[in-house]
């Protein structure tokens, strides 16, 4: 999973192209992960140290780990950790990027550091991303307390992600949710939920992404944000929310949904708590909004 997160980050920074990302994430790129890449991933060695060991390997017929220990770059314990990771590891994106000569060890190290800064992920959180455990990743991202509002938001976005995977695109990468008081949008499809709880739910995206989302959901040709595109997004929200309140009903919470509304270029000022969950899809970003 980390490959997807890091890959989308590189794509958003225009460091790699979409075509390159597809190639490096494809199954044919399954090779043994090199210790140098794992050492940089783990923060045990710098790119310069890895390059130095590689240069030494070119001159001496010695193993990477032995030379790294001999030069004081790794401890015995660290090498053991890396060797065990190498056994269980899937090919890292970094490995493929370097094998394909898209970037150097130096570039990789710097981008990894920048990714941690930009994403705000701690080392522990990065490890969870590497685990490929979707539930753990959602749990990690939705660690916003245990209030009734957070529980409902969590249930809402878990269902939303499943519906995106089922009806729109299976390659969805969720970002870190956040609370905000003001949210500006280009396009916003919303639907109110009323009853035991009052909630406003919505999906926000740029014109280009709205068109592609609508096309993916309907399998129809849509070329602009017209009535059909708006209707498609609204119908996706309607199905999502219909399922959501049916799930709530089974838990003894009785709510109903109001007709959907599509708005262009505006701002939402939160009357209550406004949660935002950013999601990356292969064709662009959407934000899931949930106000309670």
């Amino acid at each position: 999973m980390f490959n997807k997160y890091f890959g989308h980050y590189l794509l958003s920074k225009h460091i790699i192209t979409k075509e390159q990302l597809i190639i490096v994430l494809s199954d044919k790129n399954k090779s043994r992960v090199k210790l140098g890449v794992l050492a940089i991933d783990a923060g045990y060695m710098t790119a310069a140290q890895v390059t130095e060991v590689h240069n030494l390997q070119a001159k001496k017929d010695r193993r990477f780990g032995d030379l790294a220990i001999e030069n004081g770059f790794l401890t015995e314990e660290q090498l053991e950790v890396l060797l065990s990771k190498q056994q269980e590891s899937h090919t890292t994106l970094g490995q493929v990027l370097m094998d394909e000569q898209i970037m150097s060890y130096d570039d990789y190290e710097q981008l990894l550091v920048q990714y941690k800064i930009d994403s705000g992920f701690s080392d522990d959180e990065i490890e969870i991303l590497k685990s490929n455990d979707t539930d753990a990743i959602l749990e990690l991202f939705l660690d916003m307390g245990n209030t009734e509002e957070v529980k409902l938001f969590k249930a809402y976005v878990e269902l939303f992600i499943r519906n995106i995977i089922r009806f729109v695109d299976r390659d969805v990468v969720i970002g870190k949710p956040y609370l905000t008081e003001v949210y500006a949008y280009q396009n916003y499809a919303s639907q109110d939920i009323v009853g035991s709880y009052s909630m406003e739910t919505g999906l926000s995206a740029s014109d280009d992404v709205i068109i592609k989302f609508a096309m993916a959901y309907t399998n129809m040709s849509i070329t602009e944000v017209n009535a059909m595109a708006k209707d498609a997004i609204g119908e996706f929200m309607n199905c999502q929310n219909g399922l959501f309140i049916s799930n709530l009903y089974h838990k003894g919470i009785n709510c109903n949904i109001e007709p959907q509304v599509f708005r262009e270029k505006g701002e939402i000022t939160a009357q209550m708590k406004l949660f935002v969950l950013p999601c990356d899809l292969p064709f662009g970003n959407v934000d899931i909004l949930f106000s309670i």
């Binding site: 009806f167 309907t218 129809m220 009535a227 059909m228 209707d231 498609a232 609204g234 119908e235 309607n238 199905c239 929310n241 219909g242 399922l243 309140i245 049916s246 709530l248 009903y249 009785n254 109903n256 949904i257 109001e258 007709p259």
Partner: protein, 121 residues
């Protein structure tokens, strides 16, 4: 073959349902975007069967259903809605709907339900 009226505020749903019914040799006599229009078209067109959404502007589907049943207690209505919770389904069936399909619907499921409803006519 049946003469069918589709009442749904979603253009996508109306188009999909129209395609499904026409491929099964039914005639779409009309389509309405909300409950009020649905009642008016029911009066004017007297269809054999109505498919009715629940969450709609102006007049909600359940109110539209009750109006239609008041106009004709033998009206044949199948609900097709994203709202699939028990009390809404029960209310629709008690009000006279023949069946209830939840969205997102699949072609086979829609045709099976409609055929069963038509067999009861």
């Amino acid at each position: 073959m049946a003469r069918i009226l589709i009442v749904d505020d979603s253009a996508i749903s109306r188009i999909k349902l129209k395609d499904i019914f026409e491929l099964d040799c039914h005639e779409i006599v009309g389509m309405a975007e909300d409950g009020l229009e649905g009642v008016e078209k029911f009066k004017a067109l007297k269809p054999d069967l109505v498919t009715l959404d629940v969450t709609m502007p102006k007049m909600k589907g359940l109110d539209c259903l009750k109006e239609i049943m008041t106009l004709d207690q033998n009206a044949n209505v199948v609900m097709i809605s994203a709202l699939g919770k028990g009390d809404t389904i029960l209310e629709a069936l008690n009000a006279g709907a023949l069946n209830y399909i939840t969205k997102p619907f699949e072609e086979k499921q829609v045709l099976k339900t409609i055929r069963e409803a038509l067999e009861e006519l």
